[in-house]
């Protein structure tokens, strides 16, 4: 991507407006559960894709207010119920933004647990303190009242929507787009020609700040582009 913007961004008209949507999710309890790490590995391989999505992408949304120490449910269980901090570190280091499909994400989790159990076979059958219940979610996409026909309106929309809307467009989006990007960056790049702002959004670290902080960083980048 190269910077091509020359006209004042304030008055630039996008190719098409940005429609802010959000999504609502209902938690479903599946049949899979694990009382040991070997059961966990088997369930990780067999569970529906919705479970991988729930325990990684969705759980990040559910715990959006936590600044540090929570990455995904798998990592949390590995340390709190199995007392395996090194496995937990491995699982927690998985950044959902590096995946454009749930199948790839599942493979990564499976690989981490397999490698750990090869090196630590004694941990495979040790009973966990608490059972891990695999859940999944059923989702409904919901339009919001915010539509952006300019960069100013885009900034106003970003300020007005819920953090769930931010998650929907900024984090979940890559599963729809099948791109290492997000809806906001795509719109800034493709419809507004703001390459640098689009690139900066993709550099925001979602794991060390809250989703509200993520929103604020996005707004700041967009506001800078307005000048």
């Amino acid at each position: 991507m190269t910077t091509t913007a020359t006209a004042p961004n304030l008055t630039r008209i996008p190719v098409k407006p940005f429609y802010f949507n959000t999504s609502a999710h209902l938690l479903r309890i599946t049949r899979q559960k694990a009382n040991t790490l070997s059961e966990f590995l088997a369930a990780l391989r067999d569970c529906p894709e919705g479970s991988i999505f729930q325990h990684s992408f969705r759980t990040l949304q559910e715990h959006h207010f936590i600044r540090e120490g929570f990455s995904n449910d798998f990592a949390h269980w590995a340390v709190s119920a199995c007392n395996e901090p090194s496995l937990a570190e491995g699982l927690a280091s998985v950044d959902v933004r590096e995946f454009t499909s749930v199948a790839e994400l599942r493979e990564r989790f499976v690989q981490i647990v397999e490698t750990f159990l090869q090196r630590n076979p004694g941990s495979a059958t040790r009973p966990a303190r608490e059972t891990f219940y695999f859940c999944s979610s059923e989702s409904v996409v919901i339009p919001t009242s915010f539509v952006a026909g300019s960069l100013q309106e885009f900034a106003a929309g970003l300020r007005g929507v819920t953090v769930h809307c931010i998650h929907h467009h900024f984090i979940e989006a890559r599963l729809r787009l099948k791109l290492m990007s997000n809806d906001f960056s795509q719109w800034l790049y493709e419809d507004m020609g703001l390459t640098e702002a689009a690139r900066q959004l993709n550099r925001i670290d979602i794991y060390t700040i809250t989703l509200e902080d993520v929103r604020n960083q996005i707004v700041r980048i967009v506001e800078r582009a307005l000048i």
Partner: protein
């Protein structure tokens, strides 16, 4: 100093105390029969509160959330639903339905609420079922089966089931699924189980299972409460109403007034457990943990509960607690009547730390209430509590008296960390355990069920 619980009782039908003593319950035993005193805050039941409306939640969850609920309801407009449970008043289910049903109706999902009827024999059997399904020993006789079936059949004949969605709450009316008719193929039936089925009495569960399997979906309050069933199972966390007397914002003057009445010193740290006097809540363990912690940090303990006056076991537990307390002046025991929601609210808000050291628990809504008020909370890792408390992130989970004592010491001496836990806990409740979230779950479920049929 005499335990306050005793003083409250001795003061229950008397007159105003002397002016210099009038502000504290600790001195409320001083009476002057010739003058009527003003009733204290806990002595008069409050007036009924009108049902809340959707827009009332705007100030708490924001306009965008309200808009989302209205959008979710749009496709359900004009649909009909029926909720059926076993009691119209008392208990968490009735309390929840009292709030949920008007909100669904406001969004034009026409929702009716029916309560089943039954004689003492039926409710004795269902009470035994309730306990057995939560793990108690029970010998299921043919007589008990017959009573259960007979009353379900009577209710089946009495209640009309013409709505698009029928939601049956808990085991008592579970057999009403027999009212389902093939001619109403569009109709969707849901079983909402509010109790813990993680280790049910096998005989009772096998008796109920064939009914449950005929529903389209089941709802549980925690993943661990669910069973292996051939139908879809969803998770709905129990919720609190942020606008209720128990949870609404109250001004600090009122908090101070309540503390003054109960003899609580707000200049010193306050550790509080709010719960019935029940062994499952381990109030004696709380006293022991408090006494350990107080060796290192100055604090007071408030044990606020109820149920000791109308429950023989509660009275026995209260006596055990008093024995454990001895003549400790820093421990205040309050046995409050059931209408004291606002006073409990004030006590929770006055607290520095809230403890819920349960050793068995359903979901633990007192934990939800504490977290909602932004209080650093220490709780037993049982039942639904781990869904609410993520250790060291939204509170502290403990497994023993020693663990509880340590966490009291730690949180009292690390106020910044404690404050962060409280803030995270508040956000966690806002995200997952409020009435508005419960409404959202119901709307989502009805939409999903509608899409799965021909509604």
């Amino acid at each position: 100093m005499e335990p306050v619980e005793q003083q409250i009782r001795s003061d229950a039908s008397v007159t105003e105390s002397s002016p210099e003593n009038s502000s504290t319950a600790a001195n409320a035993g001083v009476v002057r029969p010739e003058r009527r005193r003003k009733p204290r805050t806990w002595e008069t039941p409050p007036a009924p509160v009108p049902p809340t409306r959707l827009d009332d939640y705007k100030s708490i969850v924001g306009q965008a959330e309200i808009d989302e609920l209205k959008f979710l309801a749009r496709d359900l407009k004009g649909k009909t639903a029926k909720m059926v449970n076993s009691t119209a008043v008392g208990g968490g289910v009735a309390e929840m339905l009292n709030q949920l049903v008007p909100l669904l109706n406001e969004m034009e999902v026409n929702t009716h609420w029916d309560v089943i009827t039954g004689g003492n024999d039926f409710f004795e059997v269902t009470k035994a079922f309730h306990n057995a399904l939560q793990g108690s020993d029970y010998n299921l006789t043919q007589h008990a089966r017959d009573i259960f079936m007979m009353h379900n059949e009577q209710n089946r004949q009495r209640i009309q089931f013409n709505e698009d969605f029928i939601v049956i709450h808990d085991p008592q009316p579970a057999a009403l699924i027999s009212a389902r008719q093939e001619s109403q193929a569009h109709q969707r039936w849901v079983w909402r189980c509010h109790i813990d089925l993680s280790s049910p009495n096998p005989e009772v569960w096998e008796f109920l299972r064939p009914f449950v399997e005929k529903y389209d979906a089941a709802i549980f309050s925690s993943q661990s409460f669910a069973r292996q069933l051939p139908i879809h199972q969803y998770m709905f966390y129990p919720c609190i109403d942020p606008l209720s007397e128990k949870n609404k914002d109250v001004d600090d003057d009122y908090v101070q007034q309540v503390c003054d009445e109960f003899g609580i010193d707000r200049s010193r740290p306050i550790v509080t457990q709010v719960s019935r006097f029940d062994r499952a809540k381990d109030p004696v363990g709380v006293v022991q943990a408090f006494k350990q912690a107080r060796k290192y940090v100055d604090c007071q303990l408030v044990l606020a509960g109820g149920g000791a006056s109308d429950d023989p076991e509660g009275a026995a537990v209260l006596k055990e607690v008093k024995d454990a307390v001895g003549d400790d002046p820093d421990i205040i025991i309050l046995d409050l009547p059931p209408w004291c929601a606002l006073q409990i609210n004030a006590l929770q808000r006055a607290s520095t730390i809230i403890v819920q050291k349960s050793i068995r628990e359903g979901f633990g809504l007192t934990v939800t209430e504490a977290l909602w008020k932004g209080k650093p909370t220490i709780a037993g890792a049982v039942g639904g509590i781990p869904n609410q408390i993520i250790h060291k992130l939204t509170g502290a989970l403990v497994h023993s008296v020693d663990g509880c004592a340590y966490q009291i010491r730690y949180l009292l001496t690390h106020p910044d960390f404690a404050r962060q836990l409280g803030q995270n806990g508040h956000e966690h409740v806002k995200e997952n355990f409020l009435m508005s979230t419960n409404v959202r779950r119901w709307l989502l479920l009805l939409r999903i069920l509608q899409a799965s049929g021909t509604n």
